[in-house]
Structure formats: C-alpha cells, structure tokens
C-alpha cells in the first residue's frame, strides 16, 4: 500500500490502521435483513414519482436550481396578487355609499306616508313633528270614530230618513272608514290588515266624508 512518498511519511500511522481489528456483523445479520426486506411491501422497483416541477422544468433549468426557480415563480405570483398600485382599486372615500333598499321598503310598508316623510328630515325636527302629527292624527281619529258611531246610531235609529240609498252609502262608508282607520290604529297586539291609500283615494274618501257629514247635519237641522 505504501506506494508513494506521502504513504511512507506516515508509515507508522498507516501500519497501525492496517492492523486494526476488523469489525464483523452479528450472526443474525442476513436473517434480520431478509425479514426487513420482506416486511415492507415493495412498490415495484421503488421508483420515486417525478416531482411536478421536475417534470415541467426538466431540461430548462438544472435540477439543483429547481427549488430556487419555484420560489422565484411563487414570489412573482404573490407580487401580482398583492399589487398595491392597481388602478382598479376602489378608493372607499370616493365611492358612493351603498343603497340599503331593504330598509327603505320596510319603512314604506310599515309606516304611514306622513311619518315616512318626516323621517327624511332632521332628527330633532323629526321627533317633534312626529309627536305633533301623532297628536293630530289621534284627534282626527277621535272625531272620525265619534262621527262614525253617530252615523251608525243614525243608521240604526232612523233608517227611513235618508232611505235605502243612504243606507247603502253608509255601509260603504263604514267599510272605507274602517280601511282608512287601519293605518292610524296602534298595531300592537292587533291582527289587522294595512291598506295603503293613494292620494286620489284619500281625496275621494275625504270628499265623501265631507258630503256625508253635510247631509247628516242637514238632516239633523230638519
């Protein structure tokens, strides 16, 4: 073995290492080995499935550079995804607020038109006005109810004064009044049907009430 100058220089060391006792495997080495080989199921010739990036980049990039190339590609993708200078980005201060259609429709359905109008004004004014309007509507309601009850009384006690035509008209009026009252009656705890009247219908109803009241007054004067 000592075939060159360096080997001869370290002759003692080489000699000591050569004379080291040879270590041997235990007796059951082969048996253990075959047991290990047979214990784990062999998957064909155990060829590792080629990595996705290896398949794509094979021939383009040296194998050692594939991880770095993958990292660079990922960085570029992330850069595109988180592009802070995007023109399409919406400035929240310049954008129009979203219209909440559901709230508006709820108000228009649940509240009378006068209250709905009041809501669009200032909050304080809104509160004051709504109180005033509530009061006024309550007063009107009282008047209407009393007149209505008088009318009913009239219709039952004196059916022959105004004739059949008047009775029919009173009946219709009662129905209309009942429907008209529905939006001013406090709905809590009541099972009611709300009917929203148009301006035309309201005017028509008012005229009818007015004419009926005049007739009623006239009949009382007689």
């Amino acid at each position: 073995m000592l075939n060159n100058k360096e080997d001869r220089k370290y002759e003692n060391v080489v000699d000591i290492l050569n004379r080291l006792q040879k270590v041997k495997v235990p007796e059951n080495f082969e048996a253990d080995l075959m047991r290990k080989i047979n214990s784990v199921p062999q998957s064909g010739s155990e060829k590792k499935p080629q990595d996705f990036w290896n398949k794509i980049l094979k021939g383009w990039i040296p194998t050692k550079l594939i991880p770095s190339a993958g990292l660079a590609a990922a960085a570029v993708i992330i850069l595109f995804m988180i592009n802070t200078n995007s023109i399409e980005a919406e400035n929240p201060l310049l954008s129009e607020p979203r219209i909440r259609g559901n709230i508006i429709t709820t108000i228009s359905q649940d509240m009378p038109s006068n209250v709905e109008d009041a809501l669009t004004k200032d909050v304080k004014k809104d509160e004051l006005k709504s109180n005033v309007k509530e009061k006024s509507t309550a007063e009107i309601n009282k008047e209407e109810i009393t007149s209505n009850s008088d009318m009913l009384h009239l219709s039952t006690e004196r059916p022959n004064i105004a004739g059949v035509d008047i009775e029919k008209r009173i009946g219709r009026f009662r129905k209309e009044i009942a429907s008209n009252l529905s939006y001013v009656i406090n709905k809590s705890g009541l099972n009611f049907r709300m009917v929203n009247l148009t301006e035309e219908q309201k005017n028509e109803l008012k005229e009818k009430i007015k004419s009926l009241m005049e007739r009623y007054n006239n009949s009382r004067k007689r």
Binding site: M1, E6, K9, Y10, N12, V13, V14, D15, I16, L17, N18, L20, Q21, K22, V23, K24, V25, P26, F29, E30, D32, L33, K36, I37, Q42, S45, E46, K47
Partner: protein, 195 residues
C-alpha cells in the same frame, strides 16, 4: 445457474443478474461479500456498533430496492460504499445535531466505549484490544472529512480513484485530505506507535 457459478461471477455480473432476472441468490452473495467490510468502514467512522449494523442493513435494503439505479459503468463496490458512506454521514450529522452521540467524550477518560464485537468484551480484552480502543478514539477525533478518506484508504485499502468516486471529490483533494488526516492521527497516536 448453480450456486457455484454465482460465486464465480464478479460483483458487476451479480448485480446485473439481480437486476435482469431478480435472482435473490445473486443479491445474497453480494450481501455476504460486502457486509463485513461495510460494517467495519461505518463503525470506524461512527464509533457505534449498533448504528453501524443498522446502516449496513439499510444499505443492503437500498441495494435490493433500487437495484435498477445501478449503472454498469461504475464499479459495484464504489456504488455500495457510496450508499453506506452517505447513510453514515447522515447518521453522524443527525447524532451530532441531537447531541446524543458521545463522540466529543471519546477523548475523555472513564467514558463508555461502544463494544463492536465479542472479542472486545472486557473479560477477553487484550493488549491489542486496548490499542484498538485508543486508535478508535483517536480516529473519532479527526475531522469528519479527513476521517472518512483515511478509513477508506488505510483501513478499507481502496485506491485513490475509488475513494474519489465514492466521496465525489477530486483525486488530488482525496490525497491531501488523507495526508491531513494522517497528520492529525500521528499527533494523537504518538504514544502508541513508539512502542
């Protein structure tokens, strides 16, 4: 092919037989031939007998499972030594990281020495046995890169070219590393070789 014929085949012919015809007998002959040299090499590198046996078994399993990876352009011995060397280095690094391996304490007195063979048992310990223990301790003090090539050259008696192929470094580098390793050993074993 008879058993006698298999024994006459070279390593390369045996692995080729195992590759092409899946002849387990050819593999068994290779195991028989390389098990002791490999366990000697790994043990001298790691200093732990149990781990060395495990590594050699793992090497054999790899040969069995990855027989198709062997290319006939290389020598079988260098291929199998490369596998064993890589596994040994990985194990060494793993143990070093986890601080489980007592390599740093090998130089200190009263530290346990891993018994590699029954001939090393204290009741049958001889003068040569004590010497071996001291040499092994000294060997484990040599830098990893130098120790590897020194073992391959002076214990396993491989050529520089084979060592270069196994370790994947140039022949010139192999030579210089061997000499540096030997120089380190020479300092550590002054007391022994003067006797």
């Amino acid at each position: 092919m008879t058993e006698k014929n298999f024994n006459e085949l070279t390593d390369e012919e045996l692995i080729l037989e195992f590759q092409q015809n899946n002849t387990v007998k050819a593999f068994e002959i290779l195991v028989q031939k390389y098990k002791n040299p490999l366990v000697n090499y790994v043990f001298r590198f790691l200093g732990n007998y149990e781990s060395s046996v495990d590594i050699v078994q793992e090497t054999m399993i790899k040969v069995y499972r990855n027989k198709d990876s062997y290319k006939s352009i290389a020598k079988f011995s260098t291929w199998i030594y490369t596998i064993a060397g890589n596994l040994a280095r990985t194990e060494y690094q793993r143990r070093k990281r986890r601080n489980l391996f007592s390599i740093s304490s090998y130089g200190e007195e009263n530290e346990p020495y891993d018994i590699p063979d029954e001939s090393y048992r204290p009741d049958i310990i001889t003068d040569s046995g004590i010497k071996d223990e001291i040499i092994q301790k000294a060997l484990l003090k040599v830098s990893d890169a130098y120790r590897d090539v020194v073992i391959l050259r002076d214990i396993q008696e491989l050529s520089y070219e084979e060592i270069a192929e196994i370790t994947g470094i140039a022949v010139g580098t192999v030579k210089s590393r061997i000499n540096r390793g030997r120089a380190q050993l020479q300092k550590l074993l002054k007391g022994i070789y003067k006797e």
